[in-house]
């Protein structure tokens, strides 16, 4: 098997996760993409979703909620960039559901500004990540 990939997940103000991984599953605008070591160089636009990273020492896996952003893989390095990214274990399903409901309410009542819609998408991603982590 090829060497594990060096992965970095960064949000605007911090490094959320970094380590070695043997398999990454993310969701781009064209659909799910799985990245194994030795993948061809790729640069994809992510949708708000949960990214699953299988660590080098399986079976542990990391699930990270991202609010859009990018995944870029080249020469054994993968970086996932998002203005907002959060580890799934930092938030519980109940919390995520509450936030989603709140965002939904704001979106339904208000005129749906960009900020509100962004918040809604972020909450969706968070809930998905939290559910996957269970």
């Amino acid at each position: 098997m090829a060497e594990p990939m060096q992965v970095e997940v960064v949000s605007a103000d911090r490094v959320v996760w970094s380590g070695k991984s043997s398999n990454i599953i993310a969701k781009t605008v064209e659909g799910e993409i799985g990245i194994l070591p030795g993948h061809e160089p790729v640069l994809g636009v992510l949708v708000p979703s949960a990214v699953v990273i299988f660590c080098e020492d399986n079976p542990t896996r990391e699930i990270i909620a991202v609010e859009g952003g990018f995944i870029s893989a080249s020469q054994g390095r993968v970086s996932i960039l998002s203005e907002y990214a959060r580890m799934a274990d930092e938030v519980t399903v109940a919390e995520a559901e509450k936030e989603l409901a709140e965002a939904q309410r704001v979106l339904d009542s208000g005129d749906g500004s960009d900020e509100d819609r962004k918040h809604f998408l972020r909450a969706t991603a968070q809930l998905r990540a939290a559910q996957k982590a269970q």
Binding site: E40, P41, S72, S74
Partner: protein, 303 residues
């Protein structure tokens, strides 16, 4: 006649209080610099990865993007000034404003109309006092800017940049901010934010190696569309963070010299007060001696 003893003591007491205040401000600024530097450091990986991605697209594909194309005949240029919200930071805000004035002058000479965008209460006050028109202003976060603030500013600037010039758009965007070189040195810097020039390219691979061809999802144009605004926001975030660290550093420096000056003043006033006290005592003694001898002479004459 020198000031009275009471007056000198009063002045010394008031200078002592001022010294306490400036000393406290110095310590507060010093402790916040560390936090500001940490924030700047933790934002660095994002900026690094983003730059890498942008240069990957720029190097491995040849797409033209509105954010990277130069206007043929630029007539309006946005100037973003990053200053502080509060004073007592030495020349921090005024040197940014001064540099901005210089830039405005330069732009006018090149037949471009400067359009001010202001961040920080100090520059807003400067422009407000002179009743100049301001395109947009932000305040209230100069010493602890978050990514959200940077995003807000970036969105406004990009919107203006993409709008046609006749409808209030701009052709160029310049940023005046203070670069944090070290605790002792902060330098005012002017950068051209848009149209973009990606300078930190990925290391050029040796010529005999085949370039890795990036696969773009969905395609290079969409990727660039998404990437560049983020890149601009991250650059502005960087400028804001540098500004915050510089503001705190120059505040610390200013407050340190204020404390030192207060200490000198206290020493001088103490010395003057001691002199005045001594003079008073000497006078009292000579008065007593004079009075006693006058009494002695009077009684001698009576006998």
């Amino acid at each position: 006649m020198p000031a009275s003893l009471r007056e000198l003591r009063q002045r010394r007491a008031s200078v002592t209080t001022i010294k306490k205040v400036t000393r406290a401000m110095e310590l507060i600024a010093a402790s916040r610099i560390i936090k500001a530097q940490q924030r700047a450091q933790s934002a660095a990986p994002y900026a690094r990865e983003l730059t890498r991605a942008v240069s990957a697209v720029a190097t491995f594909s040849n797409v033209d993007h509105p954010l990277t194309t130069e206007a043929e005949n630029p007539t309006r240029a946005a100037v973003l000034l990053i200053t502080s919200d509060r004073g007592l930071a030495g020349a921090y805000s005024s040197s940014v404003i001064k540099e901005g004035e210089k830039l405005n002058q330069m732009l006018r000479e090149a037949n471009r109309e400067p359009v001010p965008y202001l961040a920080g209460r100090k520059s807003i006050a400067f422009y407000g006092f002179r009743r100049r028109n301001v395109a947009a202003k932000w305040e209230g976060f100069s010493d602890a800017p978050t990514y959200g603030h940077a995003r807000e500013i970036a969105d406004a600037l990009i919107e203006a940049f993409l709008a046609p010039t006749e409808e209030g758009g701009v052709d160029e965007i310049h940023v005046v901010f203070t670069r944090f070189v070290s605790m002792l040195t902060q330098r005012v810097d002017v950068i051209r934010m848009l149209p973009l020039e990606v300078v930190e390219g990925e290391e050029p691979p040796p010529s005999d190696e085949i370039l890795p061809l990036y696969e773009f999802e969905p395609d290079a144009e969409t990727v660039l569309d998404e990437l560049l605004p983020l890149y601009v926001a991250s650059r502005i975030h960087y400028c804001l963070l540098q500004g915050a660290a510089s503001e705190l550093a120059s505040r610390q420096k200013a407050m340190k010299s204020a404390t030192d000056n207060a200490q000198q003043l206290i020493e001088r006033l103490t010395r003057e007060a001691n002199q005045a006290r001594q003079a008073e005592i000497t006078q009292e003694i000579s008065e007593i001696v004079g009075g006693a001898s006058a009494l002695a002479e009077a009684s001698a004459a009576a006998e």
